[in-house]
Every structure is written in structure tokens, then in C-alpha cells.
């Protein structure tokens, strides 16, 4: 039995930025190839690159975790 992708299969599809923004809005982060972005912006555009780095994103999730409240109940048996 043959395994893997059929010949000519491509996991990517094309959509214009204008049409995509109709679906996800202008502020949604869209994963793109690092190399492609670097070639587009040049090597020195580090602040913009940081915005899309995975590390930065997981840090955001982590700080969100710290902000979320732990559920607890405190009982004082002396008041019962």
C-alpha cells in the first residue's frame, strides 16, 4: 500500500490579504515563513520580528496563566 502524500499535493492554498482580512480581521496574527518575512523586511527589522516570534507568544500565554485566579475557599472553624 502506498503511503504519504499524493504526487502534486500542496498543503498550502492561496488567498488574497484583502479576502483573508474579511475573515480574521486586520489584527489577527497569521503564521508565515520566517525566511519569507526576513526577505520581505530585511535582517534589521528586529522589533517587528520579535512581535511574531513564538517565544514571545508563549510568554504572553504564561503571564496570562499567572493572572488567572486560583479557586479556593477558606474556612474558619472557630466561627462555626
Amino acid at each position: 500500500m502506498k503511503r504519504g502524500r499524493p504526487k502534486g499535493y500542496n498543503p498550502y492554498t492561496e488567498i488574497s490579504y484583502e479576502e483573508l482580512s474579511d475573515w480574521v480581521g486586520r489584527k489577527t496574527k497569521v503564521p508565515v515563513s520566517k525566511k519569507w518575512l526576513q526577505s520581505l523586511m530585511g535582517e534589521d527589522n528586529s522589533p517587528q520580528k520579535e512581535d511574531i516570534s513564538l517565544d514571545n507568544d508563549s510568554e504572553a500565554t504564561y503571564s496570562k496563566d499567572i493572572d488567572s485566579k486560583i479557586e479556593y475557599t477558606l474556612t474558619n472553624f472557630n466561627n462555626e
Partner: protein
């Protein structure tokens, strides 16, 4: 031995073990790190609270009891910031980590260090350049879960397990009566009620509430066999305490002879996991079905099916 748990029914072995640790606590001011383990509704949290209620601070005041739901703890930082520093550090307190199988991995690792105390009652835990002091004479730690297999084994090794057993029919009957002390059960109706409770204390409390509502609506102070028949019909209480889904499983197996788990899940319209965890185990425990490669109804199940 002192009777610390006189308000709680059943769990004789648990009571003995916890009483032993309470007696020891009153001499040494230290209790082991306990792990309450057992199926849902058996009273793990209730016993942990009752245990905590019998712990006293050095000034003779009853110790404060903090109950945490571990599934809401995300990481070390959140725990030390929100719980340890404001509530535990420098305080005399009992802490119950409920659903402790859901502890995050980094806190589990921290607990491995913290609870590795040898004979010492104090432990300094250093994390992120900060030092947190644990004093086990002032702080008592209790863990509880239904899923002990999901606790990291080295952590489980550091805890003293308290195993909970299913309740006897007579104990369930006692729990029901204890919950509605203002009601009188006549003509042996309590013997009919107990077998319809699903083997745990929480179900007994629920059944007591239904009886209380029934009697309250009728302005009654007593409950008879006839009343129980009416209540069963109204709120859908089935023999052996089975649910309507379980009734459907029995009827399906009765009509088709036997079925695979996938086949049965498709017929009932539920996921396989839910079918296995929530219903099959109970039916197996009651000897109403059997699994011999395929699911089959037993003669006991057949008799029940005809009576339904």
C-alpha cells in the same frame, strides 16, 4: 482512641487511621502528608475537612482550612504569588489540594523537593532566587483525588494514602436519615431507599434532598413506602439506582444479545469513553452485564430488564 468523626457515617478504617494521626498530632503538632483516595462521592473532602477541624493552633484556636481546586493552578509562580505568600507563609493553616492529579508539572516537581523532609519539620524551598519556608508543624497538607494513577509516582510515595471504601446499604440508609432528622421513615421504607442509591454518600445526600422536597411539598413529617413509589415515579428513580441511559443499555443488550463497545456506543449515541466510565462500570459492579469479548446482559440484568 478519641471519637473525632462522630458526625460522619461509615468509613470505619478511614476513621481509625485518621484518628491515629490526630492523636499523634496533638502530641507532636505534626501530621503526615495525607492523600485521600477513592471513587467520587465517598466523602474524601468531607473527611479532610473533619480532620482539619480537629487540628489546633499553638494558641488553642482551631486551625483555618484552605481548600484549593488544583485544576485552577497553572504554574509555580501563580501558586506562590496568589496562595503561598498571602495565605500559607508564616500562618498556621491546613491546606487541601482537591483533584490533586491536576497539579501542574512544575508545582509537582516543587512538591517533590518540599515534601522530601526526612525527620525535619521545616523545609526551605528556593525557586527563582526566592526562598519559601515551609513549617510542617504550622502547615498541614492534605491531597485528594479520584485518579491516583495520574499522580506522579515519586510524589505519591511521599504521601500517606487513606483509601475510601464503598458504603454498605445500612450506612447509606443512615446517611439519608441523618440528612432529614425532622422526617420519620415508616413501614421499613428506608430498606427500599438504600438499594436505589449508587453506593456513595453524595448520592445518599441527594436522595435525602428529594425526599425532603417531596415531604415539604405535601406538608408531611413522615415518609412511607407508598410515598417512595410516587417519588420514584415522579423523579425517575430506577431499581439499583441505575440511570435511564443504563436502562437503555440493558434493553439494547437484551434485544440484540451481545454488542461490541463501538456497536453499543453507536446504538446508545454516546462516546465510548463516557459509556465505559460512566455506565458500564456501574452495571458491571451490580452484575447486570458482563464482558466476555463482547458486552452481554446477565440473568440478573435480564430479570431487571423485564421488571422495568
Amino acid at each position: 482512641m478519641n471519637n473525632y468523626f462522630k458526625d460522619l457515617i461509615g468509613q470505619t478504617a478511614v476513621k481509625k487511621k485518621l484518628s491515629f494521626y490526630l492523636d499523634a498530632f496533638h502530641k507532636t503538632s505534626q501530621a503526615p502528608f495525607l492523600l485521600m483516595a477513592g471513587a467520587k462521592g465517598l466523602g474524601k473532602t468531607e473527611f479532610a475537612k473533619a480532620f482539619g477541624k480537629n487540628l489546633y493552633n499553638q494558641d488553642g484556636e482551631k486551625r483555618t482550612f484552605l481548600e484549593l481546586n488544583c485544576s485552577t493552578i497553572k504554574n509555580n509562580e501563580q501558586f506562590f504569588e496568589q496562595i503561598f505568600l498571602p495565605l500559607i507563609a508564616d500562618n498556621e493553616i491546613t491546606i487541601l489540594f482537591d483533584e490533586c492529579h491536576a497539579l501542574p508539572a512544575d508545582l509537582t516537581m516543587a512538591f517533590l523537593t518540599i515534601f522530601n523532609t526526612e525527620a525535619n519539620s521545616r523545609k526551605n524551598f528556593v525557586w527563582n532566587d526566592m526562598s519559601f519556608e515551609f513549617n510542617f508543624k504550622n502547615q498541614t497538607f492534605i491531597f485528594a483525588t479520584t485518579e491516583t494513577d495520574k499522580i506522579f509516582p515519586p510524589l505519591k510515595d511521599r504521601l500517606t494514602t487513606i483509601d475510601f471504601e464503598p458504603y454498605e446499604s445500612s450506612e447509606l440508609s443512615e446517611i439519608v436519615k441523618l440528612c432529614v432528622p425532622h422526617l420519620k421513615f415508616t413501614d421499613g421504607v428506608d430498606e427500599l431507599i438504600a438499594p436505589t442509591i449508587r453506593g456513595n454518600a453524595r448520592s445518599a445526600v441527594k436522595r435525602a434532598k428529594e425526599i425532603d422536597l417531596y415531604c415539604g411539598a405535601k406538608g408531611r413529617s413522615f415518609f412511607t413506602k407508598k410515598d417512595f413509589e410516587v417519588l420514584c415515579d415522579q423523579v425517575g428513580i430506577l431499581p439499583f439506582g441505575i440511570t435511564f441511559t443504563e436502562k437503555q443499555i440493558l434493553q439494547t443488550l437484551n434485544s440484540c444479545g451481545s454488542a461490541t463497545l463501538t456497536g453499543l456506543a453507536a446504538k446508545i449515541g454516546m462516546s465510548k469513553t463516557s459509556l465505559q466510565k460512566d455506565h458500564e462500570l456501574y452495571l458491571l459492579g451490580k452484575n447486570l452485564i458482563e464482558i466476555d469479548g463482547k458486552r452481554k446482559i446477565t440473568s440478573r440484568g435480564l430479570t431487571l430488564c423485564k421488571a422495568l
